[in-house]
């Protein structure tokens, strides 16, 4: 019976507090003291939990996906190898590229125009330097340099098949249409000269500001909360100089 035990222990605690300090249990100083300890403890605990859980998860990621990682590397190596061979046909490639609409490519990348077959917008997992105030996703790699890496002829086959283990289940039945591929190639070629940047810090500051604001709102909204019935009565009595008889 935890509740009964709890009550007994609570009673014991209350009695001992009253006896030791001669004050009421739950006196203000004690609470202030507790609040300070609680805060310190909370910070220490959070750091410990993050270190204890997230570090092993990263290790697990690396270990478990070693095979998968090499699979991705193999795909990329294959595509990179093929890229120069294919650039032997520049005429066809440049004609294809010319048909792509760079502006539509941006909209496809950021999801403003949905992909025709319902695939996830690139922006969900990838970023390209300078596309939006807070950048694109960071689950997958930065695609700013993808055009430079695969070239005008190497990139279209990648976009046509999306042959990566993480992407396959999502796009297997929702591949990009040929128009979408052309527009995206045009977009990637236009941003090829940019330097990749990551911007997690841009997220942290507004998120922490929002969090502090929410905490302040909580304090303001509930400022007239019923803090305690008995404590308030006791404090009022004490202020007034004691109780009759």
């Amino acid at each position: 019976m935890p509740s009964v035990l709890g009550l007994r222990r609570f009673q014991k605690d209350t009695d001992s507090t009253s006896a030791e300090t001669g004050a009421l249990p739950g006196a203000k100083e004690r609470h202030m003291d507790r609040a300070g300890h609680a805060l310190l403890f909370a910070v220490a605990m959070e750091i410990a939990v993050l270190c204890a859980t997230i570090c092993p998860l990263y290790a697990l990621d690396e270990a478990a996906s070693a095979g998968e990682g090499s699979q991705v590397d193999a795909v990329i190596a294959y595509l990179e190898e093929r890229a120069p061979e294919q650039s032997a046909m520049p005429v066809a490639a440049s004609t294809e590229l010319a048909r792509g609409d760079f502006r539509r490519g941006i909209k496809l990348f950021t999801g403003i125009i949905s992909l025709q077959k319902g695939g996830a917008p690139c922006y969900a997992c990838h970023t390209v330097s300078g596309i939006a105030p807070l950048g694109g996703g960071s689950l997958g790699p930065d695609l700013t340099g993808i055009y430079a890496r695969f070239g005008a002829t190497g990139l279209p086959p990648v976009l046509a098949t999306l042959p990566f283990p993480t992407m396959q289940p999502i796009y297997r039945t929702r591949l990009l249409t040929s128009r979408e591929q052309r527009d995206l190639v045009a977009f990637f070629s236009a941003v090829a000269g940019r330097t990749p940047v990551d911007c997690p810090s841009r997220m942290v500051v507004p998120a922490v500001a929002g969090f502090l604001l929410l905490f302040a709102v909580v304090g303001v909204v509930w400022r007239r909360r019923l803090r305690s019935v008995r404590r308030a009565l006791v404090e009022e009595m004490t202020r007034q100089g004691g109780v009759d008889g």
Binding site: H31, T110, I112, G137, T166, V204, A207, A209, M237, D244
Partner: protein, 240 residues
């Protein structure tokens, strides 16, 4: 562990156990279908723990559910970088608030002897799991952007495949370990519903929102202010 065990068999087992356990507890021990309040024992730290926790976690959970129930609308809502950034930042702020809330609640249970005395083993297990789950959630939100968008194309198809009894874990098995751990722990928490104070999610008194209001009147004797010399020395007896 094999992916089909973690992401197909375990979720089904967790939900089945939660439903059976929940129904059993409702009929066998209905009065316990709540969260044992410790507000009487300590209420100052509780405020700064319980309010941020609940106001943080409930909208975040509802967002997870909304994407699952109405994925089309969710996709449209997030189909603009500005809207996505605003929603993600709101979610991150709420995530931080929930994290701070659960940390304060755990610290309170550890540091206040009266509250510690009424804390059961299952309470510790549950709060530790919630802390872990929210920490992972916040970590994922910052490390693997944009969670709300890729969730919609990975976890949602997986969860819907489970719901339609055509389980397919393919969309999620290649996600980072932190994300997969978040999913498994989510089902562990579902499993714990009927065995912990989490049951109060289903007994929340929603009808309080529309019941007639009540007026509470206090009867208090009026005490004229005593002479200055006697006041403020702090050695007075409390009110009887």
């Amino acid at each position: 562990m094999d992916d089909s065990i973690l992401f197909v068999m375990f979720p089904y087992c967790a939900v089945i156990l939660a439903v059976i356990g929940g129904v059993y507890r409702y009929y066998a021990d209905r009065f316990s279908y709540s969260s044992l309040s410790s507000q009487l024992l300590e209420n100052r730290t509780l405020f700064w723990g319980a309010i941020p926790w609940h106001y943080g976690i409930v909208p975040v959970l509802l967002a997870h559910l909304a994407a699952l129930i109405v994925p089309g609308w969710w996709g449209v809502l997030l189909g603009d970088p500005i809207r996505l950034a605003v929603l993600e930042l709101a979610g991150m702020s709420l995530g931080f608030m929930a994290l701070a809330g659960i940390v304060i609640l755990i610290a309170r249970r550890l540091l206040h002897p009266r509250v510690r005395a009424v804390t059961s083993v299952m309470d510790w297990l549950l709060t530790a799991l919630l802390l872990l789950q929210v920490s992972l959630g916040v970590h994922i939100a910052f490390t693997y952007r944009w969670g709300s968008l890729w969730y919609h194309h990975t976890a949602v198809p997986w969860l819907r495949s489970l719901a339609t009894l055509l389980p397919d874990a393919a969309p999620i098995v290649h996600l980072p370990a932190a994300v997969r751990a978040h999913m498994v722990i989510g089902f562990v928490i579902i499993l714990l519903f009927p065995f912990t104070r989490l049951a109060h999610v289903f007994s929340f008194p929603l009808r309080y929102l529309w019941r007639p209001w009540q007026i509470v009147l206090w009867n208090r004797r009026f005490h004229p202010r005593r002479q200055k010399g006697r006041a403020g020395n702090g050695n007075h007896e409390p009110a009887p």
